[in-house]
Symmetry: D2
Subunit: 355 residues, 4 copies
């Protein structure tokens, strides 16, 4: 076995755990024509195992399910899948145990579930922000395998918008109110009677994640562990009748004293290693500032840069903190399957993947 | 002519300016069976004048237009209407001049438009909060008539939720993110292509109103003028695909240091003169706290207490300020026509109305 | 025990089976202030039994749950409830057995479930149409109890619109396409991911009901049994993102050759015994024709006449059949709980209820 | 000047009339990377003329406006544009005169407007159905130019679904109920207050178009004119809260007596000259039958085959006519801009275009 480089002759075999759910389907869609990865295993609960994927899935994606994927058998979530990497879209109620069993059997597990996000041995990764945290993998206690997690869907866009501000001006406090799409709740998820002509001002466990995950993401790796940052974050999370795309109203307090123009410049200039390496899933630019006073919007910007770009707008002075702005990012692409695949690509590029 | 008391034999004749618009219709609906007021004049633009109200209006209310109201002629907005009080639902582009002309002709003008809200001679009134500001009427420069305004639809619920906190604990800073219903934009208002499956993070002029109007409402009358308060407020305003009911995520900083239970108690106990006087449009209780973690919601609480009650929920500690909570109030009732009618009832009770 | 007349001193004790579901809640709401009936028992599945109603229910109605109803204990669905009449909103998977057990124990069961609708011994009743079918009750095989059913929610408005046409001109063929509200699917019912920005052109079992139930409703009681009519009906059923109110596009072939005006006149004049008796739940007029070319609409007409009136509009010539028109009726009031309560009132008036 | 063949060295210069409207934008989007056509002129009303396209347009498409297109100047709709073909997305109030002036000046005008659809000299074209009608162009009275129209957005999918049935079994009668997306009404079009939580059972002029346009499309060219067919069609048209994609419930009476399987086979096999020629805008297959009982759906199938494929499902016996089925087609692609571009490609291939 050899480390991957960019001239590998065969695609890397990957599997999807929880392949029939809403995020699982997004993995299937995004990976079905991936230049590096080849889906070799679709795994799901006992109830689905044994059926073809077509029979087992209630396909929700706008593009039809391909014949090839539809014919694949659904396998149980046990660590004998014919692949090197598994992407996990498992429900948190079962993800912990299953992901650990795969890691211990030598798989690279890249998970969209929350179970290992707070584990001090596990990177919580946004490749444009904290790629250095992958060094944690040298000290992981999961046998030959590895576990890496991507953050909560509301955190991805927020953290990306804060990253260049933090680098240049220092972020001290953040107030964020989210308006989150229904696809974030999975399927069947939110009942239509609850959300049609309504907003629900509560998402279980979400505010805690938004207030805490960025502290680890912006943390520093010291002595084989992440030292969390001490940014103060306050979050209100709401569910709105929008299919895809999380909108967030952000107020931020900075150490420095930049002008509005400097901030916009700093967002539009922001680029990181995934961009330099031109990773397949990486957006050309992580952040796009729009000057239209009514932008960004889910309907108009969720597909920005393959759904991996974060749209920003409405930067203005905040009477309480320093600045206010609005962000929009695609919750099942940038905030889930797409972000997780970008982690895998980063790990391949960094030499963590053998097959 | 005699001052009104509560044993008056005849109803007070009132008129509605801008009667064909969305708020105008809500006035027609709420006043059609009012115990004190009798609609004697429906006025609108030149385009509508001369038609019957039925012909002129695109009736949007859920209850059918009554035959009696439908048969009334639409009159032009000139100050010769057969009534003492005029409720104004005029568009801001014309409200200033017309309202002034009515006041100078001796009418009591109670307006939902923004034009006179910042005029130092004009009360910006929420009867449960600043009834004392009616004393400004003794010094108004509009001849024998008077002008009183009610606040922006997003301000009403917010200010009511802050009032008892301010009385007992002192409000210092407020951060609010609104999610506002489409009925707040009038008719035709927001295009369906813009709002279906979307949220629009901008409402022209709205954030300025939310940040400034409470300062006047919470101000103190000194030397024949209102001295504004100095609370610092920051607002983000969003339009969501909800028919009626504005939801607002509030973070607040207080001088005092109350417990969560003290705040809930203080909201539930809150009552003011409109309640003591049992004014027809007054809610039994202005504020209702709900313990369900997913409340309040537009769909479930907008009709609370005739649409005049403010629903509150989710009170919890804020990592940045002191507390966070969520409010819901009906934007065209509490926040527009209903609130304006309550001002009229208050003025009758206080002896400002002769007829 | 004595037959009911209209001077009874005490309200009739009633119970609700399946009280926690969407239709069950509508029963609770409509019966909470009923002039004749007093809710004495709320029954539901084993999972809910033992809790207070407040704890057991996910209250979906726009008006808040009353304290009194909220405090009632939820009982199991066994026939020892302290009441004479039970309204059934049970799921069809359990309704058959439970309803039969209540009837055999002597209760009057009036059911919104489909299980007994096709039973030749059981009336399928719309009180304005086939009150004579109550005579079937003299021959029912359920011991001392009785079972009566109300039709499918899409059938109620349709059958009412056809009744006066059939009486005066003879209905031969009907083509109907429904656009049905999400509340018709219960709770949680339709997933928001399936219906937001979408229409689903299928509702399991619905088209069969719409094509068959009217044949029994319009049937004639002969020799202790209903002889079905032979009207030919074709139905397409769709689910649309509307909260309440079923819209139906109808084309009809008649034996007679009436003019458009004669049909409108015949609808507007239609009245039946529930109207003559002024039963509490009866609409003042069952059918209301609207001349506005864009009416009827769910948003504007679902609350018509307490939600018990059927709104009709757009009558025009059909190039294939004779006439086309559109109807709108409230699916959980006229089409479910309200219609079922009207059956109970009719049975009381006809002397079928003892207590 | 030379007739086009498929080895032309330069792209054909085209212009768009009414480029700032909703359909105009869809033309811009679809033509921005077209292999044969190059957009050389964007024209709109006097109000927009003189601005850059970016300034003049309220861009509604999900993909961002390209920099190149955004920089183009908006020209007035006068026949001096630097192109050979103009695509017209003009409002019907002005389309007649402007389109005629372009034709008389020698342009090929392919129009999405209704003005010339019923003109006996003008083809009403769906390239898969009545390509022979292009022979009408030899006798047109518009000077050196030509006018061709594409049908109403609700007619395109319907007529395509009927074409193979008519060829093989003979279509005699059609009953159709449409549920049409809001994008069909242009921008701003339908007010959100009218359509959120609602269905509007009326679209001005639409039913007449659906009942009449297919008669010309299925007509036969005789003696330099189209002889209309005599199929009897009845239509009910509704507006539903869906962004894109018209759903239609169809009942059909046939001369022949095919089985369900024969009909599905006949749909799935259907192919015509645009497919044989592999025209860029042509779908691989015009008709796709889906066996899932709840398909087709706007949300899942509107993008089928580039938005040019028609999804069909739910074929079953009709108690009144012969068969019932459901179709879904994209109203602004297949039913407007895409269909119109396909006409242009067909005309190029048939040698009608010189440049």
């Amino acid at each position: 076995m050899m480390p991957v480089d960019f001239h590998f002759r065969e695609k890397i075999p990957v599997g999807i755990l929880g392949a029939t759910g809403a995020v699982g389907q997004k993995f299937v869609q995004l990976l079905s024509s991936h230049p590096w990865f080849c889906v070799k295993a679709l795994a799901a609960s006992e109830r689905s195992a044994g059926k073809s994927y077509r029979e087992a899935v209630n396909w929700l994606m706008p593009a039809p399910l391909s014949i090839e994927m539809g014919n694949m058998p659904v396998l149980p979530c046990v660590p004998n899948l014919p692949c090197s990497i598994v992407f996990s879209a498992l429900d948190a109620s079962v993800a912990g145990e299953i992901e650990k069993s795969f890691a211990e059997a030598g798989y690279i597990v890249i998970s969209n579930s929350r179970n290992f996000r707070t584990d001090p041995a596990v990177p919580l990764l946004i490749p444009e922000i904290n790629i250095a945290h992958l060094d944690l993998l040298h000290y992981q206690p999961f046998g030959k395998g590895k576990i890496v997690t991507n953050p909560n869907c509301s955190v991805c866009g927020l953290a990306l918008s804060l990253k260049p501000l933090d680098d240049q001006f220092g972020v001290e406090e953040v107030h964020v109110v989210t308006m989150q799409a229904i696809s974030g709740a999975g399927y069947p998820g939110v009942a239509s009677l609850d959300i049609l002509d309504n907003v629900i001002p509560f998402i279980s466990g979400e505010e805690e994640k938004v207030e805490n995950e960025p502290l680890k993401i912006f943390g520093v790796l010291k002595d084989k562990a992440i030292e969390n940052r001490t940014i103060k974050i306050s979050a209100h999370c709401n569910r709105v009748p929008v299919s895809d795309g999380h909108l967030e109203c952000v107020s931020v307090k900075l150490k420095g004293n930049p002008s509005r123009e400097e901030i916009i410049e700093c967002w539009n200039q922001f680029s990181a290693l995934p961009q330099a390496w031109r990773l397949p899933m990486a957006p050309v630019r992580p952040l796009h500032y729009f000057h239209d006073e009514a932008y960004p919007q889910a309907k108009r910007h969720r597909e920005l840069d393959k759904g991996m770009g974060v749209a920003i707008g409405r930067l203005r002075k905040c009477p309480l903190m320093d600045f206010k702005y609005v962000i929009l990012s695609h919750n099942t692409i940038r905030g889930a399957a797409g972000g997780t695949i970008l982690i895998a690509e980063t790990m391949v590029k960094k030499g963590f993947v053998y097959w």
